[in-house]
């Protein structure tokens, strides 16, 4: 019985008349302290699933449960890190990080001290006073992550947090995140389309099919913990990567063709 239970979740969108089935009967279970990744080609419905679990997308079929209690709307136990750059440009790094505390009415003094701590945790000490425009993409993402940690969620929900970063920065941040999550035994559901990332971080990897977004396969990653990006070179790692890629390749190819078509259709509007 997991902390987060997703059962039979389906979602369709009406795009110019015809219906696009983004998600089809998705079942998913995340246990206490577990790190689960959902991987799938672009456009397969990952973000849709993300926003449904996060409670941003109220109308869908199926049920979302947290601790067995049905979760409706945005949920205090779920913290979200978004795919798009989501720092507030008019707030400094520190002000960004402490936003959740400010919202829940924590005193300025306390939230500042906790904010600085979090910023140290993501390795950005010295940048507390900088505005996002003065930070690199990687740093902004770290700020968003720290912000979500400030929320102290039971379940951390991330949608391609490193999607916009270059591979090397990503590898380094993954190490960082991995270290934090492992030390806090943070229950995490990571949505990604990066195979290495998924293998490197997860206890389990959930592979989604292109469209409709179904769960195609679930792979348990039993690489020794604590892990770092050095595991990259181990043959098992390569095995997992290869295995997942074989599954994804067909889906991705479907996606690439279709996506262009979709864009063309919408672009023509």
């Amino acid at each position: 019985m997991g902390v987060l239970n997703v059962s039979g979740v389906s979602k369709s969108f009406a795009v110019k008349g015809q219906v696009v089935k983004a998600l089809d009967a998705v079942d998913l279970e995340v246990h206490e302290g577990e790190f689960v990744s959902v991987i799938g080609p672009s456009g397969c419905g990952k973000s849709t699933l993300f926003s449904i679990i996060g409670g941003l997308q109220p109308d869908y079929d199926g049920r979302i449960e947290v601790d067995g209690r049905p979760a409706v709307g945005s949920h205090h136990d779920i913290g979200m890190v978004f795919q798009e750059e989501s720092t507030f440009p008019w707030r400094t790094a520190l002000e960004n990080v402490v936003l959740p505390l400010q919202v829940s009415g924590v005193s300025k003094k306390e939230r500042d001290s906790r904010g600085r701590e979090l910023i140290r945790m993501v390795g950005l000490e010295g940048f507390e006073g900088h505005y996002p425009s003065q930070l690199s993409g990687g740093m902004k993402q770290r700020i968003s992550i720290a912000r979500t940690f400030a929320f102290e969620p039971r379940i951390m929900l991330m949608d391609e947090p490193f999607g916009a970063l270059d591979e090397q920065t990503r590898l380094l941040l993954c190490d960082k995140l991995l270290e934090i999550c492992q030390s806090m035994r943070q229950t995490t559901l990571l949505i990604t389309h990066n195979i290495t990332e998924a293998v490197q971080m997860s206890d389990r990897v959930v592979i989604m099919s292109y469209r409709p977004g179904r769960i195609k396969r679930i792979i348990d990653i039993d690489l020794p913990r604590p892990r770092t990006s050095d595991a990259l070179s181990s043959p098992e790692f390569g095995e997992y990567v290869g295995e997942i890629w074989r599954d994804l390749r067909t889906e991705a190819s479907k996606g690439m063709a279709a996506e262009g078509g979709a864009r063309a259709a919408s672009g023509a509007a």
Partner: protein, 250 residues
Amino acid sequence: MSGLLWYKRSLTLAVIVAAALVLQVLVSLQIVSPYVVASPSSALAAIVDLIRYEGLPVLFARTFAMTFVAALVAIVVGLPLGVIVARSELLRRSFEGWLGAAFSAPIILLYPLFLVVFGRGYVTLVVMGALVGVVPIALKTIEGYLAIPRVLENVAVSLNMTERQRLRHVTVPAVLPHIFAGIRISLIYILINIVAIDFLVSIGGLGYLVGAMYDRYDIPAMYGAILFVVLTSVIFFTILERCESWLSKR
């Protein structure tokens, strides 16, 4: 920031001064007829008399006040209007573009009728000013409202913000810069309209003064008065800048 800003300011100043000098030379060399363009020096000199005999300070204060009130009205009307339109797909579609053009059409020509309705007084000027001022503010508000990043709104939801918190932390700070841009534009519209109409019907502000000086064919004094119109806009812009940086700092 401020370093650059200061640099910019001083540059602008330099350009203005340079232009003034060139003008001075042109006029004093009679290359430009002094019956058409007054030399900056004589214009400045004339200001003294304007203050002493023509009550420049009062007239200046009036125009300033009228512009200010008109701007306030324009904001109070234009802001909500913008929000409403922005929220309605239909309204937006129809308001943008063509209507925008039609709107900015010659409202000023209707001043006689406004005189009839609102009487020959400050009210007319304020009303007409506000009228032309509303449009840019509304348009910019729409623009800003549509430019709020969806993702930030999602963050707001995911943090369980209340409506008020959301307004305070997301909507307002995101739209504010656009609104200020709108206010800048509309301020110019308002000032020009108020001054121009006052010029035509002598209600008693800087516009009237410019007109009176022209009727006496006192060209330097006329330019002196016009200088104060420009000064008004500069003052307003400075104030706006302050407000904006102050507001965005919180």
